[in-house]
């Protein structure tokens, strides 16, 4: 029977770890429901983390940092929307480009902006304050997941948006503004991924590194599938992933295990869990019919 203090710490750890993938996955659920895939989420998280730390330190306010994350995410979402929705381009290649850009820009900026290589520690004054040990971003992420579910499945806006992803021709015929809705959905997805990045740099980890996203953008993509494109199920899935992510860190320092199982091997856990989860559930899920395909009016 573990001490209650340890248990509380563990729960806090899970809440931290679930927050960025929940935000990113909920945003991508909306984008994919509208028919647009964005695999550039990894890069958006990285650039959101970078911008969040820069703005937070420059303005002396973590709220400015979170706003910067949202803004960078919105801008990258808009770029993706222009390429895929209006220019009818491929959905995957721009994402690869954004990720590559981020793999370069983040370490580059750590060197030229903070004059250190590899890692920048975010100072105390620039970190998001917590209430009872819980980040307001975590609370916001859960609220966003619930609100997004409500809008998607209980309002006419949500119905239109899902119609666009299922059958854009039909939606178009009855007067839905396909391109506009898709753009809004992708920008929304970008914003949440950018916020997730800022949360990681100025809240959870208090650091900027070039490995800060560590595949979480792609884990979120897997979570979208795992949750059957449903924000409420994503809440459950994100908790599951957060659990394993935290477990990995805990097992590393557990007296009996430390030294017995190398931490390098424990680091594979989140990725193996992701693969197992996606491979195990996929027969039950169904993606939006028109996801990932450019819509051209006849």
């Amino acid at each position: 029977m573990p001490e209650p203090g340890i248990l509380l710490d563990f729960i806090r750890g899970v809440l931290y770890a679930m927050t960025p993938i929940l935000l990113t996955a909920v945003g991508e659920i909306v984008a994919e429901r509208a028919g647009v895939v964005n695999i550039g989420l990894e890069g958006i998280i990285m650039l959101g983390a970078l911008a969040g730390a820069m703005a937070s330190e420059a303005a002396g306010s973590p709220w400015a940092g979170l706003a910067a994350g949202l803004l960078v995410g919105a801008a990258l979402g808009l770029l993706h929307a222009v390429l895929t929705v209006y220019l009818k381009g491929d959905h995957i290649i721009p994402g690869v480009g954004v990720n590559t850009l981020a793999y370069g820009l983040v370490p580059y900026m750590i060197i030229v902006y903070w004059h250190t290589a590899g890692q920048h520690q975010v100072p105390e004054y620039a970190r998001v304050p917590h209430i009872a040990g819980i980040s307001p971003v975590t609370v916001a992420a859960i609220a966003i997941a619930v609100a997004t579910w409500y809008v998607l499945f209980r309002t006419s806006l949500g119905l239109k948006l899902r119609a666009v992803g299922e059958n854009p021709e039909a939606a178009d015929t009855v007067g839905v503004r396909v391109e506009r809705l898709q753009t809004a959905a992708v920008v929304y997805g970008g914003m949440l991924a950018g916020l997730a990045g800022a949360f990681m740099s100025i809240d959870w980890l208090s650091t900027v590194t070039k490995e800060i996203a560590a595949g979480r953008g792609f884990i979120s993509l897997a979570l979208v599938v795992f949750s059957n494109w449903n924000p409420l199920l994503a809440l459950g899935g994100a908790t599951l992933f957060g659990f394993f992510d935290t477990l990995r860190e805990w097992v590393k320092v557990l007296p009996g295990v430390k030294g017995l199982v190398p931490d390098t091997l424990l680091n594979t856990i989140p990725y193996i869990v992701t693969l197992a989860a996606v491979a195990g559930v996929l027969h039950r899920v169904r993606p939006p019919s028109h996801v990932g395909m450019p819509y051209r009016r006849e």
């Binding site: 990894e42 491929d90 793999y103 595949g215 792609f218 594979t268 992701t274 693969l275 996929l282």
Partner: protein
């Protein structure tokens, strides 16, 4: 007159023009970022050129970097030809390198006969084999469980990364130097093509495999079926082609390519002949392949040219860092912009379409008001 130009030639020229625009976009954005962060872009690009193409040593550096990314470019390109976005070259390259190091480890641990060309062959085979396991995992997840390859290959990349790190730290470490694994013994190394350089025979392996891929894709039945499956899976399976088998084939060919790239780096590149801390001498070579494939239009012959171009960027980045003090990550930023620019569907086509539409509009107006239209749009 334009209609007389053969279609393939027009397409190829169009493609070249678009690539040139994308490169220009990358160079301009890179310059802007350097200028904003207080560097002199002219100086930076001058050193980039000097350290990549302007003398024979720089050229060998460029070619030495072209060798692995030509192969990882093949990985991505063969995937695209089969309708897949296989971004698993990075992890498969780690596994290939690990395979080569394992053979080196065996040579140090009693199997002395592997300190010979036999060891080279064994290292290449084991590297390609381990990489194939990684490719096969993604292939089976795709065809049996419907897991999208973008997700599975990225997860497999991270698993490969930590597995290789584990092996480097705990198993195949160099007892005299904690920053790297055991070295490939001299007898098993790939010979250098020019002494005093980093250019090894791995370039020949890369060229050989690339030509093999070309022959496979365009001159063999398997390749025809693979491309058909990628172009239109429904039509292909109606025509009796097993789309799933073609996907597995594409994953395997790609994995062997990436595995050879990783093994080649360990077997051929001085001074380490090993895997270094954090896989720092391997990291990014798989992702560079995506850039190479996209610039090379996913065609093996285009990829040879594109790999030299991106190899020059990589070689030049080192010179840029040493002499102009610009962090070499700059080059990855340029690559990212190039990919985004290449993602703009038909930049040239957009322009020509805009012109065509204006002409059409002009014709419509002409038809409406013959007298006026002819005058204003002539």
């Amino acid at each position: 007159m334009a209609a007389r130009t053969p279609v393939w030639l027009r397409d190829a020229l169009m493609r070249l023009g678009e690539t040139a625009i994308a490169l220009a976009a990358g160079i301009v954005v890179g310059a802007a970022i350097m200028w904003l962060s207080g560097y002199d872009p002219w100086e930076a690009y001058r050193y980039l050129l000097e350290s990549s193409v302007l003398d024979s040593y720089s050229l060998t550096m460029t070619l030495s970097f072209a060798a692995p990314i030509m192969l990882t470019g093949i990985t991505f390109a063969v995937g695209v030809r089969a309708g897949l976005f296989n971004i698993g070259a990075e992890g498969q390259l780690y596994m290939g390198a690990l395979g080569a190091v394992l053979v080196a480890y065996a040579a140090h641990r009693g199997l002395g006969f592997l300190d010979s060309p036999l060891g080279t062959v064994a290292a290449l085979l084991l590297g390609a084999g381990l990489a194939s396991l990684w490719g096969l995992a993604a292939a089976l997840l795709k065809v049996r469980r419907g897991v999208h390859e973008v997700v599975s290959t990225i997860m497999l990349n991270w698993i490969a990364f930590w597995l290789a790190e584990y092996m480097r730290v705990y198993v195949v470490y160099d007892p005299h130097d904690p920053s790297k694994t055991v070295q490939v013994p001299p007898g098993a190394r790939l010979p250098l093509l020019a002494s005093g350089t980093e250019l090894s025979a791995s370039l020949l392996i890369s060229l050989g495999f690339t030509v093999f891929t070309y022959v496979l894709l365009w001159h063999m039945v398997y390749g025809y079926e693979l491309r058909a499956a990628g172009l239109n899976p429904h039509a292909a399976s109606y025509g009796g082609i097993s789309v799933e088998r073609m996907m597995v084939l594409a994953f395997l060919v790609g994995a062997v390519a990436a595995g050879l790239a990783g093994a080649g780096e360990v077997l051929g590149r001085p001074p380490h002949y090993a895997i270094t801390t954090g896989l720092s001498n391997l990291a990014g070579l798989g992702f560079d392949g995506i850039t190479v494939a996209l610039i090379g239009a996913n065609h093996p012959l285009g990829i040879i040219g594109a790999s030299v171009l991106v190899g020059a960027l990589k070689a030049g980045a080192k010179g840029m860092q040493i002499y102009a003090h610009v962090p070499l990550e700059m080059v990855r930023i340029v690559e990212g912009v190039i990919i985004i620019a290449l993602a703009v569907p038909g930049t040239l086509r957009l322009i020509s379409e805009y012109r065509r539409r204006r002409l059409q509009l002009a014709r419509v107006e002409q038809a409406k008001t013959p007298g006026e239209g002819a005058g204003s749009h002539a």
